[in-house]
Symmetry: C2
Subunit: 363 residues, 2 copies
Amino acid sequence: MATMRQVAARAGVSAKTVSRVVNNDPHVLPETRTRVTEALRELRYVPNALARTFRAGGAPVLGVAVPDIADPFFALVAKAVEDVAAAHDTSVVVSSLGYDPERERGALESLLRRPLSGLVVAPTSPDQGHLARWTARMPVVFVDRPPRGLEADTITGDDHGGARMATAHLIGHGHRHIAFVGDSPQVPTTADRLAGHRAALAEAGLVARDELVAFRDSDDAAPGRLVQRLARSSPPPTAVLSADARTTMALVPELAGTSWAVVAFGDFPMADMLSPALTVVDQDPAALGRLAAERVVERLGAPEGSALRRTVLPVRLVERQSCRAEAHAAGLFPFSAPELDTSVSRVEPPGGAASRRCPDASA
Amino acid sequence: MATMRQVAARAGVSAKTVSRVVNNDPHVLPETRTRVTEALRELRYVPNALARTFRAGGAPVLGVAVPDIADPFFALVAKAVEDVAAAHDTSVVVSSLGYDPERERGALESLLRRPLSGLVVAPTSPDQGHLARWTARMPVVFVDRPPRGLEADTITGDDHGGARMATAHLIGHGHRHIAFVGDSPQVPTTADRLAGHRAALAEAGLVARDELVAFRDSDDAAPGRLVQRLARSSPPPTAVLSADARTTMALVPELAGTSWAVVAFGDFPMADMLSPALTVVDQDPAALGRLAAERVVERLGAPEGSALRRTVLPVRLVERQSCRAEAHAAGLFPFSAPELDTSVSRVEPPGGAASRRCPDASA
DNA sequence: GGCGCGCATGTCATCGGTGTCATGGCGTCT
DNA sequence: AGACGCCATGACACCGATGACATGCGCGCC
């Protein structure tokens, strides 16, 4: 914990000279340098990074706040942010917010008490109005989920379009009774996906049956129960759209007992190794994180920058096996459903959708 | 970007009074307070967190450096560290080091240039001697992998014991030719697991066949090739021990074409949903991270603390299906192997091994 | 009326490193 | 020889907030 001045005193020089030695300034006599170096070693001097940083006017630090850093989706988001940050010599402070709105606020505020230059946040709480105080001071970009009670830059996946595509895909396989299972209708992401699902049903002239929609935050939320309840409805579904990866992971074990076709929103490691391999709507979390971080960096560079933007990233349907359980296998259709699928080719262009942005929609 | 003095000038008071208002010091006349508050708002004053922190002598910040934050294993480690940190009002800076030794060093050094109070690191490079400079200044705890070229606190899983147990388990199922696949023999973790594997073979009086050991960092490392090469050996293996989760994930698709039994080192999400469900040696990454973070916090509290410790956490065998492919299914044994398995009950005590520590071994 | 106390506010120093400029010695060029 | 310039080094200010202590006013009490 020795300071530069202490070292200076010991070496019989001024603090400035010590500074020069520490920073390899060539304008120091070899003999002086030796003396200082020795004092440095004797006192085990290590420069105080904080003082340096402070003097330098602050180093860039990017905050990443996600519900759970151990969730593969958010881990990929965080990693992408980190990659961008590293390329700009910026460090990254992460904070797991959890899924409890009150904890979220507390965690965010203690994160924001630190010296941050920008923030990428994926909130779950119903209101982020309290962040207004900070959006003035630093770039705050919302990722995966839009802010509520606040205007801010946003990078999200195409929830509505993705769910619509997924459901249309199942309809293309002949399914007429398609369940929807998600975490909570409060989460805007889930709400959008449900809307997309319903839009696809409507476009196909199918009725949206409320009893085929289930949420894991409801009273009777054990995954097994949810599946049982869906199976008991009449007619029972022949397919299910799982609205997010956490839900999917909870659901997969229960689905083994059914012959339902499945499309899941959100890819995850090993989804292709399940039996059957899961057909998923992939959101490209890395692109989400990368764009969010780049947006922050951009705003850092151009202080009173441009208007706020909401970017929606295309999603892509990764067709594997789980959507193939044909509707007639459940005895409802005497024929194999024709392949009506226009959605895949429509939304997944050859170049790989993930690398392109949708045109921005300015607010 | 307004400073306190600017606000003070505007409000016609001293900076100190502004400070008092900002910090809710009661000794300020209501009228003054109002004037200051107004100036505060007009200038959009936000306290400079860095200056505050600096003046306060620094806030605790814990660094976490892992090869890849998006790897489920390290994500869990990081999350556990974060939880501990949050409980101590400490923020967490993460850095993904990558798997390239040179990049690792660069990333570590740029992480350490920041004001950190402690570090939890899982290195992959063959030498961390360059960290010696920092271990003097702050607690550095190695997690999952021990340091090389340096002495430091270490929290690791019981690699040797776990691999020995896994191989013994396979032997118990009647297997006599057991392959070992890992990332690289350079990684101490992998080396220890290979040693454990060999120890189990030796204990059972089996020969360790070098051609049944394969690494992904070798020349011909595509997982498909590795599996083919193993299958071509004679006699071919009837079981395989995968030495780490990344290897396992790469291997699983290739293993589908074989009837080999599998035990994998390292659990991961959905491992239980594969077909067959993977039998794994679970390392409890959360406990690893938690203990490492607690060790750092502890050392932070007791500056010139106790001797350096190496803690080895027990691992536990999670028996699922993939170890059940009996040896005779490959036509090598005319009888169903007797269940010799003592290893499971020996190493997985009722209370759950993960919650206990092995006695520390002082260095 | 004088003494003292409480309260609002200000001044100054400080955290630790570093940028800016000053100083003084010595070598060199004309 | 005088002027100039380079070099090693130092003194001092400063980044921005805040703790310690000082000042000065007003009020109450003996």
